[in-house]
């Protein structure tokens, strides 16, 4: 066990360093962990050996995979069912187009411009089809747009967009055998069942120091993850849908969400993001920067072609439409998850993985900067009410 404890210490030292860097430079911890993972692999690999970090060891793979599953679950649980019910038509149309346009467009660019193989091109389409709910939500929050109909529709559309991503990630590379059918039938049985059972189960046995809720949720996520893996699908697919199904139960229980976050950010996601970063090949990025630039341009262009006409069809004026389009071009977590899935399943090479992760990171920052600089619909900004003596930021938010 000495070897495992020593390696765990090294990984947690890296996680701590990444957290300190994120505090000093005010950047996202996930981004900091990816960068630290990349640099650590570069330095430790050069000094001690490429396997010293142990990114492919089974226990690290397990913690990393659990991090991706729980993080995806928490993301799904952030859906506000009331907002979704109110805006489902617009959200579904905008969300589906925002998924399909970059999915086909980026896959085509990877296939015919970058001359990637068929499977890597589809994976590229999936990884670049995402929209970062967190980025969109933060921008909406800063501008107070999260309370407007416009903002609510975009936020709900982001969930549909990401749902498309996880469904396609889970099914495009599946072999479509009787196992796939069993997995789909299993999902159709389990999801309605937990929707009914979970609130009752928590009411009967929850709120005890034994943390029954966390064990119940982990059982669900691992169980459905195992079924997905057995069917050669992806465990984040059921995790995201379970999160959405339980959004009204788990999402409303702030104490439970806080406890899950402690587990996720304290232990699991550092392993996930540092591991994701450790597979990035810096020399590959330096050698072919145009690949990264082409993929980023493809993502933004295909989002524009897909989303902008739809916003016009829904009667958005030019500036609103362009702003929506730019925000829907962002992406981070699901893009990284998709790319890592491709690498783990040997669908893409490490060089292709590197370009995809770099594109995903850039897509989390560049479209937002362009949107706020040039297309912000100022007239939609609400005047914040002064009726209450205190207004909280998360309490009245559509998604928190």
């Amino acid at each position: 066990m000495t070897h495992v404890w020593a390696q765990a210490s090294l990984w947690l030292a890296l996680a701590l360093l990444a957290t300190l860097l994120s505090i000093w430079f005010r950047i996202a911890t996930a981004l900091s962990e990816i960068v630290v993972g990349t640099v650590a692999q570069l330095v430790i690999g050069a000094l001690i050996g490429t396997t010293a970090l142990g990114a492919s060891e089974s226990w690290i793979t397990f913690l990393s995979g659990t991090g991706a599953i729980v993080l995806t679950f928490l993301a799904g649980a952030e859906l506000d069912p009331k907002v979704f019910r109110a805006k489902w038509k617009e959200a579904t149309v905008v969300g589906l187009i925002a998924f399909f346009a970059p999915f086909f467009g980026c896959a085509a660019v990877a296939r015919y411009v970058l001359h990637w193989g068929s499977q890597p091109s589809w994976l590229c389409g999936i990884a670049l089809s995402t929209t970062s709910v967190a980025v969109v939500y933060a921008v909406m929050l800063e501008l107070g747009l999260n309370k407007t109909d416009f903002g609510k529709a975009i936020l709900a559309a982001c969930f549909i967009n990401d749902l498309g991503t996880v469904i396609f990630l889970g099914l495009v590379f599946a072999p479509f055998t009787w196992r796939t059918l069993t997995f789909v039938v299993g999902c159709l049985v389990v999801f309605p069942l937990i929707f009914w059972l979970t609130p009752r189960f928590f009411r009967w046995y929850g709120n005890r120091p034994s943390e029954l809720e966390a064990k119940y949720l982990l059982l669900l996520l691992f169980g459905m993850g195992a079924l997905a893996a057995w069917a050669d699908s992806e465990a984040v697919l059921p995790a995201y849908i379970i999160g959405m199904v339980l959004a009204g139960t788990v999402g409303n229980d702030h104490q439970l969400v806080r406890r899950l976050r402690t587990l996720t950010f304290g232990l699991l996601t550092p392993f996930y993001f540092i591991r994701a970063g450790s597979f990035v090949l810096v020399p590959a990025l330096i050698a072919a920067p145009l690949v990264f630039a082409t993929l980023l341009a493809a993502k933004m262009a295909t989002k524009f072609v897909g989303v902008y006409p739809v916003t016009k069809a829904f009667g958005y004026v030019k500036r609103e439409g362009l702003y929506t389009t730019m925000l829907m071009s962002t992406g981070l977590t699901f893009g990284t998850i998709s790319a890592l899935f491709g690498l783990n399943h040997k669908i893409i090479t490490q060089v292709q993985y590197t370009h995809l992760v770099a594109t995903v990171i850039a897509s989390a920052v560049i479209p937002t900067l362009i949107a706020n600089a040039f297309f912000l619909p100022h007239y939609l900004l609400p005047r914040r009410s002064d009726h209450e003596s205190t207004q909280k930021i998360a309490g009245d938010a559509a998604v928190a």
Binding site: R26, A134, R384, S389, K392
Partner: protein, 151 residues
Amino acid sequence: MYKSILVAYDGSTAAAKAFHSALELAERLGAALGVVSVAQLPEPPTMGETSAILDAANSHYEKDFRKLRADAKSRGLELQTHILAGHPADQIIHRAAETGADLIVMGHRGGSRMKEWLLGSISKRVLSYAPCSVLIVRIGVERSTKRGSSC
């Protein structure tokens, strides 16, 4: 003179000192007093972390606001408190513009030159772009006034 004063509050000693300076000023001038605190989000915002920061900011500032409200009440003033998310300087300026504040009061913590170079000073940015007068309160100095453009 000043009818509406907005205090930018981040929970630091400098901010507490700024609040008490503003309280004294509001009492003397009979001005309305508001406090704004800003939860700064990471770049780029990520799943879970954004929600965690907002939750933490709400509980942290709410606790502080209870004390600030009690202080204001003891001087016969009603305090409007507000928690926003985003870049602190931008949000303070927007808030001042929206509420028609004619004076922003804020503390100056005096970060290292390296930190200021990397991240920029919030007080400098507010001073440069505020739509009204700005009072910067320094720790260790009784009161130091700098004026921006008048409303």
